[in-house]
Each structure stands twice: as structure tokens, then as C-alpha cells.
Subunit: 364 residues, 4 copies
């Protein structure tokens, strides 16, 4: 398993920040899904850094579909998408080879791979690898939309500033999917960007919270044990670099409620069963109940800082100081948002394919 | 996979609340692990309800090891542990067959299994099934201890009351593993129990937060993508009924910090690398860094209430009211704690076996 | 996975020959499948030894369905079937603890499990464990039949005697499924039984070949690489004790043909595509073509013999002699036949569930 | 799973015969394995067609290692090897789009992928995809050799001609690994080539049998049920296009023996246990016994023929005739041999990694 997401629709990712290419192989997708390369380009652009609030690394993320797509549609066989690396400045990193960046993966990679890891720019741990997940998501998001399943993520908190809560989910998701900086309240968006720039000016960074909504999922998806919707989604979401918490529905706040406050009463409406509230985040007993699936991911502040930090020279086993000079983001929350969308879309595809079969996504 | 936890040490669970038995099959454990049936009995007793703060269902949880243990040690072949159900009062539930308990799995089970589910007492969704996970945990916890790996969970919040934070982890874990009501601060424990009884008296329930520490894990465990330690643990933990959030290290609070506050500086001590703080919860880039692994699970208040709640008669598609009369807990946080320990122990075993091989757990 | 068969319908087996019970957990089966316990009893009886040609061990194979079946139908949650061991004579085996029976698993078990294995009566390697697979098969065979999918296996060779070839597959399969000694040609059956008795009288044993036909499978099942129909079936079939070869269609004989002899020309018949011959065994490029799937398994002669054989005392590392005194079969081919049926049925269920979804088996 | 081989060392393949590239992603290999690109080129050249006995398609198989290798060694993260397609003549195939080549995958692909498959040159079913498996094998074969594990395959039968049997395995394997046409008996090799040319002159093809030996495997590898060595190897081997049977040790011939003939008596030699004969092919009870693992694969004659064959126009549902004009081989047995070596090497790596842990392959 390891670098492969999913049981039925399996997404394998590969690549290092400063290798020749990164990419993905998607296996198990239904044949006949139209592949919109413009849309893939668009979602990839959402992940890319832009403007003052992001790293200076500017890479157009051109991609090549090497297999699995023929005459504009998926064939049903593995789809390889390759994204060449072009703007790599390896010399930025070699000088600090043995200085483990605090809260980054340099030390743990060294422990796991015994020094054979490609350390340049974070290697296989680089946030750049998420571009492969985004490209894969770019194939399935339109297919889910045809089935009435829509996904949207907003930056619900960033640098201590809160966005407004979700209101009309259909409208909010549609709006978010047109935004580069996915914040529903424009004033909040401006305040967040100011906080990011302020942190940058100090050589520091900020974190935040992403909130995702999925609408249109049928009831009855997920399993009572192990492959609960919460468990399966969280498993995938924790791959997004910097995620340190995942909560569903009311999440940690539900632990402070009483049962009578927390419970979502059922009610019949137009021959359908729904709930009056959605503290459960659309999931009961690990299984979707037909209400919107709602969850939040805690994103830590970027660990790479230009201000000096205490660290260790792993080769000499001596305490040292490190102020990173490479390109890095004062905040990744707004960039991680499209990754959350895509990881969610791929996970949902996997669950639907397991439940309804290999061709369901394109069946009328 | 579905009802099977793990890739290398695979734990399959089965059973319904009111069937003849529940149980587990554990496959992939090293041969030669001593099996202490008294210890299994002890951990099972920690999960059982006791006293006024729990359900009146009193079941001694006798268990039978049907296979995989010979002359007191694991054989290396699948271990089946069967726990017969004895104290089942099915008539309690039949009258409310079609009334979906709010925030319980009755409705989602009905959607998934089309009415063929065993609805009695929650069927396969019952918290009782966690006894199988606890029995499985009872086999591996002592084996991990021999390797210097210790796990402890406390009720860090319950009904709005906070326990003290972890201090000396070794001592705290040792203390917790002797407690029935796992709260480090005795005064807090009394207040929590008062809150639980108060909720019970109103026919209501309360929730809380479990905090778990794992010490002794080697650095280098986990994978950069998908099978991150966070993702693998969260996947398993969300199976514990009522868990709606999982966070590692500083968790959601880290999203409010700056990078310079959140980062854990490395330092060399006695030829070993450790970190000055542990906001990362012992995990960088999805991989253990040798520091204690710390996480918290949000536990919702028990959804089954004796006060009336709005619901739907699923057969007639009519709004209805339901006040549960069966036995149920006003709080499951303190009982879920041993389940968190055991799910963690099994997950850690799986990760260690994948990394170090099938026999590692018993190698000198 | 190890002791778990299948990806979507997962069959886990457990138990030792002389433990308290053997059994199986079947996860992922559609809810609503009628469970016919008489039929399970019947298929279990086909596996049991009977008469002079088999071991004297006579065990009625009573079984208990512990979970996953409610009001006569599958619930969709894991089905545990437990088969208690009753007629165990452990003293038969203890004297020869360290004498590895040639071509049996005593030595390899000792190497793998370091002496912790339950050695009595073959332990977890005993052919008795196949009863668990047969019980599981007894649940799915009737469900497949409702979908028009039928499976039959005959002893095509035994002790050097050949049965007649398959003719009218529908009639042949129906006939085989009524037989205890599954040979289509009555004269051949008598000759085979004579050979078995003759071998028995010499303290020797004989082997044979099982040929299986599956009719009614839709075209388009299987994968081009890795999860080819041949690969998936062979993977499962090699679990049947004593199987040393699996071949599909013309099998090894096709390697002696020319392409023009071996190829199966397509032709259109009544708006359907079929092939004029079936040297491919119903499989092209790893995927079913709608023709009957045909394969053969080579079954070795039973390794346990009452005549003396050269072996090694594993403890003393000294050469020794061994003449087994326990109960054993002079031939297992005719008993393995129902195991082949059941392993095939379970594998086919798994493939169909992966392709058509979790509920397909009960959909109209 | 589908296009992914292995549980611990996972090899995913992608690509179509006439797409832009084929390739593989290998995940789970130990870090620090030296990668010898010259050796990869050499094994790829063994798979390539050469001379009159093969297809005229001449492609140098240049490959690019896109990730997972750094400074000449594996990093432990996924290795992507991409092999661009250059010599593609798609027009050869378009005219016969709807004429299903007998015993090829055209019809089954159409049934599975509903017409969306890339039909050109066999698409994802093309034998060309095996180059990806060979490239992956080229990384692990030298690593296995450092551990004393050697693999060799000879064409034991081709066009009705037999090679000599294995004698001194160490010497035979060494010799085979220097040969382009892997036949131990030079006279037999010449006769086989004559038969191939003769078949070609008639627009026909021939098949054969591959026999593989693996020496140096430790005893105790494999599982008693499901993941038997036979099952795991056969699962992978049946992916090699044209394989219709796999047998271990004496294989189908063992079914004609008596137990006393078939059994391999154990004996102690120099403090080690070995067997006097090897009818079991180095495997007892699904687990290696330390003797050489021996198996044979039946390879069907190439289905693509230049002589006319009966088929069906899948679009018009009319009977038709087809004489293939594209490039194709009169025999693939000698080319499939290196694929058998590589599939075996990858499978063995997977088994060893599961048993001994992620780093074993490079541990001293």
C-alpha cells in the first residue's frame, strides 16, 4: 500500500521535489469518463503558489497523460499522469543537507531511509507531490458532478481569523470552486492575507483550518467498522502535509454537548428521511445518512521559516541553528484547500466504486 | 477489507449484540507470544459497564480462544477469540424496530443493508462489538511492553470537566493502566462522575475527549503518503463508536499558532536526537520521530436517550417520537478508553510488523 | 492477508486439527441472501471421509452460525461459522512430534513458526481446515445458482484412471452435484476406487486430477494484469492441500499446438458472440469471454503413509524412519472436489462483487 | 489492486502499446539498493524481439527513472520507470478495429471496457507492457543475488522440442542468464528455432513450456492458506500473456504417482535438513523447505496469425475472416522467459520483505 490511496480506485503517487518528474497512476476508474485537460490545468493552478502570500517558485505544472485516456475518455486501464519538474534549484538545499528542519520530515526521513533519501527540497515529502493528487482529482471531480456529487472547501480559519460558516451549501460550493483564495467572507479573506504577509515579514508562518462539504452522496455508503466514512476519509486527508487533526460534523465541540443537544432528530420530508440538524456531519455509525458530509482539517503553520531555529546537525550529532533560505510559503492553508477537495473526490470515488461497481460512475 | 483492521497483523471482527457470539480473528501475529488469559480478562473488565454511571447490562465477558494459541503461546496462525452473548433481552428492542434512534446507526444500517440487518440492540453496530477489539488488544499489549512500548489513555475531558494534562508519561501510563475510571486528577474524576449521573437523571448523556500517549516507539515508523502514522491510527480509531474527531500533538490548537511557536526544535542529548517541545505529537511528515506519540479523540455523548426525541418510523415514513427504554449508558467515554488503548496497540503492532518483519515482536 | 481469501468478499479461516474449533468469517457478502443450513450440511458431508477409501475419522461436522445471518438471510455484516472439533485423538501424534512427515508441512511449519506451531494432526495445515471453506461455499453456491452461475468438478483422473470428458456441461454439472464420488463414468469410478483400495492395502496412496467447469459467468470479468481470472483462481486453488498444478482450457497441452490449432474462432450466434472451440477455457487476456470457464488441478497423492519412509528427527538432527499410525486417507482427490467447487464459488463471488457492486448478488 | 503486483513490494504497471509511454511504479523497496542501469538495459534487451524468429518491431526500449533513485541507489520511496513508445504504427490496426482476433483480448476488452479501450496494437493487453515488469525486475535481481538468491528460466519445450532437464542448478542458472535464446541443449535450441521459422513460413505460430528454478530461498517463506508460495507465484505468473498453466515440482505428473514415489524423504546433511528428491518443487504445505523452488509455465502459441481465421465483426455482429498484417511473433516463449524471471524476482522480493521487514534486502 504505502503510497497508494484507495481500494477500488487506487491512486499511486511518485516523485521527488527535485527529481525529473512527479506523477500518479490511477487504476480502477470506470471506462468512458470524459477527461477535460483544461479542468485539470485549472485545478492544478489552484494549488500553485501565487502572489506575495506564497513561495516564489513559479512552475506552470504542465502535465502529460501517458496512458489510460484515449480519444478524450478514460479507457478503464491505468491512467499515468506525469508532471515534469522544471524550476528546481537544488543548490539551495545542499548546504544544509544534515541540518534537520524542525517539524519537517528531514530527521524522520533520515531515520526511515538511512540517509539514502533524496533530501533536496523535501524530496518525496515535498508539498509539490500533492500536485499529483490534484491532477488525479481533476479527472474525477467532473464525473462526480455528473452524478450530482459536489465538493467544496473553504479556509474556515487562518492566522486566527474566521471565515463565515457554510450557509447555502450548493451556492457556497459553486462560489468556492471559482475562487483562488477560497474564503466566503471577503473581509475575512483580506484580514487573513494581511496576517499571512505580516507573518512573512517576520520570517514566520501561520496555519488554519479547512472545512469541506460534500453534497449529493447517497445514504448507505461506508462500513460499520474500520472502513467507516470518517476513518477512510481521515486516512487519506492526513496525507496532506501539515494536517494534524480531522473532525466530522460538530467535531471536538460535540464532546462538550449533552446527547439531547448533539443528536440530530430524523424527520420525513417529501418521502425522504433527513435530519433537522447535522451535528453528525452526515455520518451515523460510520455510514452516510444522505445529509451533507462535513469535516474540518487542522493545518499547522508551515514549518520552514527564514528566522533562525534550533536544530541538530544529524551527521555530527551537534546542536546547531538553521534559518531556511530556500523558497517557502508563509502559509499553505489556502493552497492545501484544492488538495483537500481532490483527496476527498478520489476517496468518494473509491467508496462509490466499491459499493456500486466498476462502471457506476458512468452509468445512466 | 471492511471489518478487518490492519495490513500485516489483521484483526477481523464479527458478531451482533443479540446474536449467539461476537469475536475476532487475529492473523499475522508472531509465533511464541505468551498469552495471558488473566490479562485479557482484566482489559475486558475495563470495558465493561460498572456502577451507576453505566448501563445495567452486566455480562461477565467470558471468552474462548478457539485457535492460534497452543501451550500458552501464539502459534503464528490465526487466533480466533469467541465471546458468547448471554445477557440478551431482545424483546426490549422489537417494539421500536422501525423507529430510527437519532444519531444512531438504525437508519443508515437500513439504507445499507436494505432491512436485512439484525436490528436488535444495534446489531453489528453495537458498542459491545468493541469487546472483540479489546480481547485482541489483550494479547498484544504485553508483547509491546516487552519491547518497551507502553500505551495509556485518560479521559482528558468529560461533561465539560478537564483532567490534568500528562506530566511524567511513564508514571501516568502506569497509573492509568491500574484504573477503572481513567482520570489522573482524582477531584476531576469525581466531578465527571457527578456530571454523568446528573445527565442520567435527566434521561440525557454526556461526551468527552480521550487522550492517548504511546511511548517507546522507534523513530522511522510510518509512510510519507497515505500510510502516515496519523492516517493509519485515525483510520482505526474512528471505528470506536462515537468518535467524531482525532487530532495529534497540539492538534486543532496548532492551527492558531505561528510557525515559530508550533515548531519543535531538535536537540542532541546523549547521542540521541529529540525535540524540545512535542507539538507534533511525535510525528513529522507522517513518520515517528522517537518522541511520545500523543493524540486525542472526541467522543460524542451517547445518542441513546431515555428522554423523548423526534424521529421517523422508517416503515410508514411518518414522523414519530422515541424514548429509549433499553439499557444504555449516560456516558461511554470512560469505557471507550480501553478500546482506544487496544485499537492503538493493534495498529502499532501492525506498523511494527510491516517495518521489521513477521517475527520482530518476539525477537531478542 | 495471509489466511484471508478475496478482496471484496473476504473469507478468513482459522483453526487447528486438534484445537477446540475451526471456522471462517465471511465479510462483504450482500445482505438478503437466503442461507440454507441443510445445503451447508450437504456440502460439508461431501467433504467428509466415507467408507473404506477414506480415513476412519468420522466427524459429523456440526456447525454454528455465530453472526451475520438473521431470520434466515445474510445481514451484510460478517458471517462467522464455527465448526467444533470433537473426534480428536491427540495422543496419536505426540510420539512423532519431531519426526517430519515427508512432503507434509511439519518441517516447513517448524521453520516458519519456530516450534510454536500446534503440531497435532497437522495443526493449521490439516485438510480439516478446508471444512471452513466448504461451509462458506455452502452459503454462496445457491446465490450464484439464482444468477444462473453453476459450478461442477469431477475427478478427471485418479490413480491413473481417466473419467470421461465433459459433454453436456449443464447436465454433467447437475449430475456431479448429486454424487458423493464425483466421476461421470461409472466404470471409471469403480476402477478408481479399486486403485485407491489397492494403494491403501500397501500402506500407500494415489493422486489425481480435478476438472472444474463454471457456466453462466458474464463476459468481461477479470483484469488484464495481475488480477487475471487465471491468476485469481489459481491463487485460491493452490490453497487446497496437495494441489501442485493448475491449468486452464487446454492447459499444458496447448503448448504443443500451433496457433491455428489452439485459437478459438469467434462466431456470432443469435446476436451473441461465442467461440467454436474452447481451448482458452473461457478466458482471453485474463478476462472471461462468456464461454464456460474450465480448469484442472493436479492433486498429489496423500503424503501421509503407513509404510516406512526416510525422515529426520528435527530435534536431534538425525536421520530416522517414520510409518504413520494416525488416521489418514489413501486418496484425497474425491474429497478435495467439493473444496474446489467451494473455493471457485467464493472466488467468483468476489470477482462479481468487485465488478458489479456489493448488492449485485441479490439484485433482480 | 488490479494492475498492482505484490503486498509489500508493490509493482504497478501502466501503458498501452501505442500510447506515449508504458511504465511502472515500484513501491516498498528497501532504501540503499544499488541500481545498475546497464543491467536494466540488458534484461530489457532479453525481452526484445530479435532476428527472424520474432516480430519486426525494433525498439531500443530506452527508459527513464523518474523517481525513487538518487545518487545511484534506491531511496525507499516509489520508483517510477517510464519507457517511451517510439516505433508505433497505429495505422496497421485501425482497419481491423472491430474484428476480434481469435484468442486475443480484443473481444473481452470490448466487453469489459464497453468500447472505450485503446484497441491499437492490443492496447493495455499488449505483450509490450511486460517491458515494465522486466525493468522493475532489473532493479531487484542484483539485490537478490547479493542475498544468494538466483533465478533462471529455460525454454524447456518449444514447438514440440524438449530441452535437457536442469542438472547443476547453479551452473545452469548462470549459463541461462548469459543467453538470448535460453535453451541449455544447443541442438535442441537449433531445432526449436527451425520449428519457429517453419511455423512462421505458414503464417502460423508455436508455443512451449518455461521452467524456472529459484535457488537460495530460505525455508519458512509463504503461508499455509491463500498466500501459499504456489498461489502467490501463480497469481503473478498468469499475468504473463499466453500462460495457461502453472505447475510446481513434479506438477501434473505427480498426480500419476503413488505417495511412496512422490514423497521427498527428508535427510540431515551437515546439520541442515534437505530432501533426497524434489518432487514438491521446494514447497511443502505452501511454504518453502529450503530446496530449490521449481515450476513450469505452459505458454500458448501466439494467437495473432497471418493466416486467415474465422472471427466476428463486433460492431455489425457478423461472422468475418481475419488475417493479421501487423507485426507479430511466431513464438513468444523465448521472449517470455525473461518476464518469468522478473515476475518471479519481484514476487520473491515481496515475500521476503513481508517476512523479514522493509530493510532486509540491504541488511548485512
Amino acid at each position: 500500500m504505502k503510497n497508494t490511496f484507495g481500494n477500488h480506485v487506487c491512486v499511486t503517487i511518485f516523485g521527488e521535489s527535485h527529481g525529473s518528474a512527479i506523477g500518479t497512476v490511477i487504476d480502477g476508474l470506470a471506462p468512458g469518463i470524459p477527461v477535460d485537460t483544461d479542468f485539470i490545468t485549472e485545478v492544478l493552478s489552484r494549488r500553485r503558489p501565487s502572489g506575495a502570500i506564497s513561495t516564489a517558485r513559479q512552475e506552470p505544472d504542465p502535465f502529460v497523460i501517458e496512458s489510460g485516456v484515449f480519444e478524450g475518455r478514460t479507457t478503464g486501464t491505468p491512467i499515468c499522469i506525469r508532471i515534469p519538474n522544471s524550476d528546481t534549484r537544488s543548490k539551495d538545499y545542499s548546504a544544509t543537507r544534515w541540518l534537520a528542519r524542525p517539524s519537517h520530515a528531514d530527521y524522520t526521513a533520515n531515520q526511515k531511509y538511512h540517509g539514502f533519501e533524496d533530501y533536496r527540497g523535501g524530496g518525496h515529502f515535498s508539498g509539490r507531490i500533492t500536485a499529483a493528487l490534484v491532477a488525479a482529482g481533476g479527472i474525477v471531480i467532473p464525473a462526480l458532478a455528473k452524478k450530482g456529487i459536489y465538493i467544496g472547501t473553504h479556509v474556515s480559519r487562518c492566522g486566527g481569523i474566521a471565515d463565515r460558516v457554510f450557509q447555502d451549501l450548493t451556492a457556497d460550493i459553486a462560489a468556492l470552486n471559482q475562487m483562488d483564495f477560497a474564503v466566503l467572507d471577503k473581509t475575512a479573506a483580506e484580514k487573513m492575507q494581511a496576517r499571512i504577509l505580516e507573518a512573512k515579514s517576520r520570517g514566520d508562518s501561520v496555519g488554519g483550518v479547512l472545512e469541506t462539504a460534500v453534497i449529493g452522496l447517497p445514504a448507505g455508503l461506508g462500513e460499520p467498522w474500520y472502513d467507516t466514512i470518517e476513518g477512510v476519509l481521515a486516512h487519506a486527508l492526513f496525507s496532506i502535509p501539515g494536517i494534524k487533526g480531522v473532525e466530522f460534523g460538530a467535531g471536538f465541540a460535540i464532546s462538550e454537548m449533552t446527547g439531547s443537544q448533539a443528536n440530530d432528530p430524523f424527520r420525513a420530508e417529501n418521502g425522504q428521511i433527513c435530519t433537522a440538524t447535522n451535528n453528525s456531519g452526515g455520518i451515523n455509525g460510520g455510514i452516510t445518512n444522505g445529509m451533507p458530509v462535513i469535516f474540518r482539517c487542522a493545518v499547522r503553520p508551515t514549518p520552514t521559516l527564514s528566522q533562525a531555529q534550533g536544530t541538530v546537525d544529524m551527521q555530527r550529532m551537534e546542536n546547531a541553528e538553521l534559518a531556511s533560505k530556500g523558497r517557502h510559503d508563509p502559509c499553505i492553508v489556502h493552497r492545501a484547500r484544492i488538495v483537500a477537495d481532490c483527496v476527498t473526490a478520489l476517496t468518494v470515488c473509491d467508496l462509490l466504486t466499491g459499493r456500486f461497481g466498476a462502471d457506476w460512475l458512468v452509468q445512466e
